[in-house]
Amino acid sequence: MRGDGALDTDSEEDGTSERTPETASPPRRSVNMLQGCRSVDEFEWLNKIDEGTYGVVFIARDKKTGEVEALKKVKMEKEREGFPLTSLREINILLSFDHPSIVDVKEVVVGSNLDSIYMVMEYMEHELKGLMEAMKQPFSQSEVKCLMLQLLEGVKYLHDNWVLHRDLKTSNLLLNNRGELKICDFGLARRYGSPLKPYTQLVVTLWYRAPELLLGAKQYSTAIDLWSLGCIMAELLSKEPLFYGKTEFEQLDKIFRILGTPNETIWPGFSKLPGVKVNFVKHQYNLLRKKFSPTSFTGSPVLSDTGFDLLNKLLTYDPEKRITADDALNHEWFREVPHPESEDFMPTFPAQHDKDR
């Protein structure tokens, strides 16, 4: 039934409301049921910028303040499910967080039809994935250091607050023209220690997924996000995704080909993981160093030995031994020459969204 009456005040919209004897009252005018929320009409639409897995993002100007913001529309398609879970968790996590490397949700606004809900977020010009596709040259080592520092700060903040992101990838990292990097898309984020829910049914790229997840580990922890950061670091340096599998099996195969097939010695507990039933080809050697050269001239991306040490520590098979965000922030690579670029001197790029989409 419809719970009509005082709770449901926009009855004009569908015209089917029924009044019950107890709640019969003079017909109400349509008032904003969600009194706490501003209406999206207080924004002036500028552009549609992205259509991601979890919704559409628009750029709009706040008529009151004149500020340009990004409005992410909450997909409300499955009525039976009620307010969508991913958005619910994302909004709640982002509203409770305050960190320069985490995208800021300022408020939630509603459309005139109450079925549309938007998260108002700070507008960022670029998404790292699209930006790298458009760049001719990869980022330099100092630029990568600047980006990785911000990324690690953000991930440390998440982990300190008992949240795992679980879906870190270049398309979830935003960059503005002030050189600031911010993590977004918390639809899969979960409180650390929460019961696990397999998320294979979701369309999530596998490229950044940690081996323990690919192998079906029942327990996972903050280390899964650090693996993703390893993949992202390599990609920032080379402008190419490091491991790009289409299936879980292929993804593991790509990883094993480059890092060698793990075994019980380097990763205690490996052989007991559910996914290890499959017989993988035994690749003996770690070929990661071949992808990056300690000096220029070779044509492959440059990464010093210290930098390579960090990359290796991020891409360590055993989650127990994988480096933490805190330790990574203190890694020697960030103090070595060339120093991290300061955010103010990061290159700026024309906004991808200016091109009409």
């Binding site: 419809r2 029924e18 619910l88 709640n92 409770s96 509603v110 008992w162």
Partner: protein
């Protein structure tokens, strides 16, 4: 006492481990905690911050006094009646148990409901709006906490008096979200439990036992609105003291001594909260057979009979409801009529 405390303690611990619901890593927590002893090693700052922010997630004292004084005047004020609240909480707990949700889910549902009622009045405080509010709050809490989420529509079981269309529930969810300013990551007593378990038992030997027993103490008291007067950290302290009282080596003689567990705790409040909790738990324990919480219901299947004399959880809680009749009405209401209130429901409401 709620659970009969077995002499060989390991048995109980073993039961929990034996695979089902409340495994250590998954025990109730909140937005900003974790519950394994190792993970709780860092506390200080986090604890202080939790205490500082906890008052933002409770309905406020005025709400509790409204409930207390409201019994006879609520109709005029469109306030909330204690009876209606109690009925809603009981229903939430039943659904919670039948879906075997985590303890935190039940607590959050009631927390959302109280915070909502604190700032908004429902058109009639003990009819269908309360039911709609309960469904919406339970649904939101489940979405925040449960790994496998049930559609809100399917939560309308266990003698729900009215059935609402998915669309109606969705709107109510939105209303609740906006009234709560979208802030669902409440700080609850569960946010503190893990820390406090290590205060009474620094070695972590009895961690699992302390957590379950304290959890049970908290859940069995959410129906009682008088606990709304205490802050989450205080409720957690009292519950942990109660849990520890079952282990002679750990029990604390003066509840007030727990004041030192973290900043912001007040001796008198702890003592008074502990006394009420103890009284109510002992009272309940005497009155009815041990109540079985979802995480311990592993062996209970619908249709299986308890071998002892204690009533099964479902029969003990639904005594007042013409359960089957309601169920049938609900069924017709959503199959026959998908727009408005069905005839049968209307009759029922008159």
């Amino acid at each position: 006492m709620l659970v009969s405390f077995p002499d060989p303690l390991p048995d109980l611990l073993c039961d929990e481990d034996s695979g089902t619901v409340l495994s250590e890593a998954e025990s109730p927590g909140c937005s900003s905690d974790s519950s394994s002893p190792a993970a709780l090693a860092i506390d200080g700052l986090l604890l202080t911050e939790l205490v500082l922010r906890e008052k933002d997630f409770v309905p406020g004292l005025e709400y509790a006094s409204r409930l207390r004084g409201g019994t006879h005047q609520y109709r005029h004020q469109h306030s909330v009646s204690p009876a209606a609240r109690e009925e809603s909480v009981a229903w939430i707990l039943k659904v919670h148990a039948s879906y075997r949700f985590q303890p935190l889910t039940a607590y959050l549902s009631v927390n959302y409901m109280d915070r909502f009622l604190h700032s908004r009045c429902l058109p009639e405080s003990d009819g269908w709006p309360m039911q709609l509010l309960s469904v919406a709050c339970l649904s939101l809490a489940a979405k925040m906490e449960e790994p496998l989420v049930t559609s809100p529509f399917d939560l309308q079981v266990e003698g729900a008096k009215y059935m609402f269309q998915p669309r109606t529930i969705q709107r109510m969810e939105l209303l609740v979200l906006s009234v709560l300013d979208w802030r669902l990551r409440s700080i609850t007593p569960f946010s503190f439990l893990g820390f406090f378990a290590l205060k009474v038992d620094p070695t972590g030997t009895f961690f699992g036992f302390l957590m379950s027993r304290a959890t049970e103490a908290i859940l069995s008291n959410i129906k009682d609105f008088s606990f709304l007067e205490y802050r989450p950290s205080c409720i957690a302290t009292a519950a942990m003291l109660w849990a520890a009282s079952a282990i002679p080596a750990l029990s604390v003689r003066e509840p007030g001594d727990a004041e030192s567990w973290c900043g912001g705790l007040i001796k008198e409040e702890i003592t008074s909260c502990y006394r009420s909790m103890e009284a109510s738990l002992l009272r309940n324990g005497r009155r009815k057979a041990p109540k079985v919480l979802p995480q311990f219901r592993v062996t209970t299947r619908p249709g299986t009979r308890y071998s002892d004399s204690s009533p099964s959880p479902s029969s003990s809680t639904s005594s007042s409801d013409p359960h089957n009749k309601r169920r049938r009405l609900n069924f017709t209401s959503w199959t026959v009529d998908d727009k408005g209130i069905s005839e049968s429901e209307r009759e029922e409401r008159e």
